[in-house]
Amino acid sequence: MAVGTQPKLDAHKLRADFPIFEQSFHGKPLAYLDTAASAQKPRQVIEAMSTFYETSYANVHRGVYELAERATQALEDAREKVRAFVNAASAREVIFVRNATEAINLVAYSWGLNNLGPGDVVLVTELEHHSNFVPWQYVARRTGADFRLIPLDDRGELRLDELGSFGNVKVVATGLVSNAIGTINDAAALAAWAHERGAIYVCDAAQAAPHVRVDVQALGADFVAVSGHKLCGPSGIGFLWGRAELLLGMEPFLMGGHMIRKVTAGETTWGELPAKFEAGTSPMAEAVGLGAAIDYLDAIGLEAIEQHEHALAAYALEQLAEIAGVTLYGPPADRRAGIVSFNVEGVHPHDVAQVLDADGVAIRAGHHCCQPLMGRLGVAATNRASFYLYTVPEEIDRLAAGVRRAAQLFA
């Protein structure tokens, strides 16, 4: 066997790192095919957080005692891991937030409310998760700007040939990978197009960061939003990367402790980056967990994860295509992440998901927080199976068998 064809990732072995798989559901081992909603957590992440609580916990950036300094160091070590993970020029460009949604809201409020007005165009896409759609729609309405959408073709890929016709675009906000149908967008081209017009480019990388190397400098983006929970980190933490020159010129988003330089009755001045955007007590243990998750993914290698997912997506598309009555959505396997969205003729996705649950197979059924996309596809909801480093081909066989069972039950 040639070296290039060696599997780089042993999913069967990696599963042992995830305590969740020690349980069974309805008497069956768990086939967790809902990673696009949230990834499971390896022991390494859970233990890093426990150890932090047991040995290093205090509030950060406050005390002068040794324990507080240890906690602060742990938080800042995590920030440095994030910086390296996305190849940011400086750790001060990394702002910890609750999730990608909060990161995008930060930009929409702090940049959008102060830089948009009537005659300006805010451009998102039909493919967006509500997290990168609703904040921009809202800010456009508040400022009198126009809210426009880049359309999709029938395969669920962006019509970049339509890019000429949007007027005075000031901000372009798109996802890098679609959470609903797996489309991988050409973010670098969108960033370049935005910059030619003097617009900023905001990239929702929540679904991309667990699967492909996100290099913020190579992308040429101005802001990149990421959630920790989708990349094996804990819930309750994510980060915004932003270009320092833009962050420096922006108003803060949340006001309160830690984000100030000086407070008087007459006036408050803002702190340095990143403190200016991190009001209140930080998600400290969560940051430590996120750092541990990045270490875990780096040790496996994002390239190996990406390759593994592509292989699984191709296998799932092949298996599902053989089932009568199944409609598949999204681009071909080589242009999608490990996400497969589908419908079974005459069977509502909730019913498909319920039948699969009885077999211990967990998939998502619904609109995936992408109602504009569902409208474009002409459906109310889809079934979505998503794969990760711990997914094994046998689980896709169980998925296909369950889908067949559902189709028969409702025939």
């Binding site: 509502h348 909730h350 019913d351 319920q354 009885a358 059924a365 109310a380 409702f410």
Partner: protein, 139 residues
């Protein structure tokens, strides 16, 4: 468990819904959605000449088997009762009819049609609308 959930009666109502189609001469009408799964139901009611008794119920919808079968069963439960009786009909009566164990998420599917019917009666007859259904009365 699946076989319990999708027992023959439910599959029958799903595949052959009773009283399907909105009534052209309806006296009461309401629509509702379940934002979790996109289930949609429209319920219409025609009263008997006494203006109180439900003579006919017609519904249309799209959604999962549980929501559509439950609404189909509901049209049979409601016929011949007064608006006031249906307005105070406990959801347990419909759930008994379904006769399956439901998780909290699927419970919302099962009682969507009932809530929409109660909203329709509330609008047409001013019958009381309990708190749990008020979210559906947005029109």
């Amino acid at each position: 468990m699946t076989d319990d959930l999708y027992r023959e009666l439910i599959l029958d109502h799903y595949k052959n819904p009773r009283s399907y189609g909105v009534l052209d001469d309806a006296d009461a009408r309401a629509e509702g959605q379940n934002p979790l799964c996109g289930d949609e139901v429209t319920v219409t009611v025609k009263f008997a000449p006494d203006g109180e008794t439900i003579d006919r119920v017609g519904f249309e919808g799209r959604g999962c088997a549980i929501s559509q079968a439950a609404t189909s069963m509901l049209t049979e439960l409601a016929r011949g009762r007064t608006a006031t009786e249906v307005a105070t009909l406990p959801k347990e009566e419909l759930l008994d009819e379904l006769g399956i164990p439901l998780t909290p998420i699927r419970l919302k599917c099962a009682i969507l049609g009932l809530g929409v019917l109660k909203v329709a009666l509330h609008r047409a007859k001013g019958t009381p609308l309990p708190d749990e259904w008020q979210g559906l009365d947005f029109a």
